[in-house]
């Protein structure tokens, strides 16, 4: 009786219920797939047909070093983000809504503030003569300014700052979905808080951590503005290298090849993520 109304209207020749996806598919097909594929073709045709761009890419110690560094930075950022986000998400999941909404408000405000200005603020805050170093020296904690910028520390601080909301928000959902009774039961059976955390809370929130972590990792791999402004030249990441190759060296072939490698890695991780959480839940915290 409740026969599928949607199915009945489906346009002849198209699979049931797929018509609504057509405009989106057309748009993404024409202006996303086509240009990206065209760019990738350039990597094997520019300046001449062949694989010489890939040979140059993997034959050069520089590019290999930049690849490795990109993974290192993404991994460090992901690890720090998880460790910082978990307690906050935990607190947010259980704290009274009135208080919690203040913290949520701060998270959203930071997320919505222009990315460039946030990064710029960190540049001024973290430099040797910056506010943080001066405050620490004024308090007598340190005598020499700490190197907080133009290195891995700077990139990590700046990127963790940007990634935190993307980790906290989905994690809150995961933690809220856990039945508090399970933990009460554990306590009744004599589990210490630490045991309850390790044996129950952590395993139950692991899917959320893994999904969020993968998302942060994938996003970090392709980041451009923040590492370029807060990192040193020895922390260069792939996205910046691609931009530099195209913009300063005018080498579109080599830049496209590097872009292709970044694309493959990102897509592979994205596929794993889809498998793990199902596309439905992806970014569900937004």
């Amino acid at each position: 009786m409740t026969g599928n109304a949607f199915r009945r209207q489906s346009i002849a020749g198209l699979p049931a219920g797929s018509a609504g996806g057509l405009p989106a598919l057309t748009l993404v097909g024409l202006f996303f797939i086509v240009p990206v594929v065209a760019l990738l073709l350039r990597s094997v045709t520019d300046p001449e047909p062949g694989l010489q761009n890939y040979a140059a890419l993997f034959g050069s110690g520089t590019y290999v070093r930049v690849f490795l560094n990109t993974f290192l930075v993404a991994a460090v950022v992901t690890a720090v983000t998880i460790v910082v986000a978990f307690p906050v998400a935990w607190m947010l999941a259980i704290m009274p809504p009135a208080l919690g909404s203040i913290v949520f408000g701060i998270i959203i405000l930071s997320m919505w503030t222009n990315l460039l200005t946030r990064t710029y603020a960190w540049m001024v805050l973290l430099q040797r003569t910056g506010v943080i170093n001066r405050a620490l020296m004024g308090l007598g904690v340190i005598h020499e300014p700490l190197p907080l910028i133009n290195n891995l520390t700077g990139v990590t601080i700046g990127m963790v700052y940007i990634m935190l909301p993307f980790m906290i928000l989905p994690l809150v959902g995961t933690l809220r979905a856990i039945d508090p009774m399970t933990l009460r039961a554990a306590a009744l059976c004599g589990a210490s808080p630490f045991q309850a955390f390790r044996r129950i809370l952590l395993p139950l929130s692991l899917p959320g951590i893994a999904a969020g972590g993968l998302m942060v990792f994938v996003m970090s791999l392709g980041y451009f503005v923040t590492p370029a402004l807060l990192g040193g030249t020895s922390n260069m990441m792939l996205a910046e290298m691609i931009a530099q190759t195209v913009q300063s060296l005018l080498n579109w072939g080599l830049g496209s090849a590097a872009a292709f490698v970044l694309l493959i890695v990102t897509m592979a991780l994205y596929a794993i993520q889809l498998r793990m959480v199902g596309a439905r839940r992806l970014g569900g915290g937004l």
Partner: protein
């Protein structure tokens, strides 16, 4: 126990303290930018030698900043409308459709969110140069709609999943056409999802800088492009003033959003 706020004991103090620290960390750069915008030092020294409003005066006297803000608003509004409309249609398909490749379609439509934006920026710029869309409003809107689409689809699809379809079917049984049932019953029920979609896709365009840097032309500059140029070229505290105004705007938007949400969910 561990998930009972009232029974956490000493752990609660620890978690609360840590949360407060992280909140302060998140707030720090935002507050700092606002302070800098009132500082009198041309070279962003902090603490500043004095306080001034001159950067705001300079900002408001410069039509280029206001133009850029209007351009950004126009492009973001159009990208938001388009991605909500297209995302709405797509969400019905993704949630209710029964066809092979539905998961693939979902994965594909969400890809622009994970693909490194540098790759997309270079690719779309090369294409738009060839077909004459580089530096045009429509080119900007298309590129930003693609980037915003995932941010529209996710909340709408989530809302649609949570909506009990039998209510819509009941309306049809009572004589409404399928289209009427959707417009009158389903859409109002998922309005919070649609509303979130509009906000998120607006922001996805409003704050986008990498594609915009490539697409911008002398007559068409968005606010992030203007900020980027200013940071690179003269580092004037006017940028801090502009950012502070944006923070204020964001705060207003957040308050409006919260109020609207409250009303909508009643």
């Amino acid at each position: 126990m561990l998930l009972d706020y009232d029974r956490l004991g000493w752990l609660r103090a620890g978690l609360a303290g840590f949360t407060a620290l992280v909140a302060a960390f998140l707030l720090l750069p935002v507050v700092f930018i606002i302070l800098l915008s009132f500082g009198s030092s041309r070279w962003l020294a902090f603490p500043p030698p004095g306080w001034t409003l001159k950067w705001y005066q300079e900002l408001l006297a410069d039509p280029a900043w206001i133009d850029a803000a209007l351009t950004s608003a126009k492009i973001a509004a159009m990208a938001a409308i388009l991605s909500v409309l297209i995302g709405l249609l797509a969400s019905f398909s993704l949630v209710r459709g029964e066809f092979r490749g539905r998961q693939l379609l979902r994965g594909l439509l969400l890809t622009p969110m994970v693909l490194p934006v540098v790759v997309f920026a270079i690719a779309i710029y090369a294409l738009f140069l060839r077909i004459g869309l580089a530096g045009t409003t429509i080119g900007f809107v298309i590129a930003h709609t693609i980037l915003a689409l995932p941010f529209a689809i996710i909340p709408i699809a989530t809302a649609l999943e949570g909506f009990d379809k039998s209510i819509e079917d009941a309306a049809i049984v009572c004589g409404a056409s399928p289209l009427q049932a959707r417009l009158r019953i389903t859409l109002p029920s998922i309005r919070i999802g649609i509303f979130s979609a509009a906000i998120f896709s607006f922001l996805a365009s409003w704050d986008e800088v990498v594609v915009a840097i490539f697409m911008a032309s002398p007559t068409l500059q968005t606010l992030p492009v203007k900020i980027w140029g200013s940071l690179r070229a003269d580092l004037s505290p006017v940028v801090a003033a502009a950012s502070s105004l944006l923070v204020g705007l964001t705060l207003c938007l957040m308050i409006v959003t919260a109020l609207l949400r409250r009303r909508l969910s009643r």
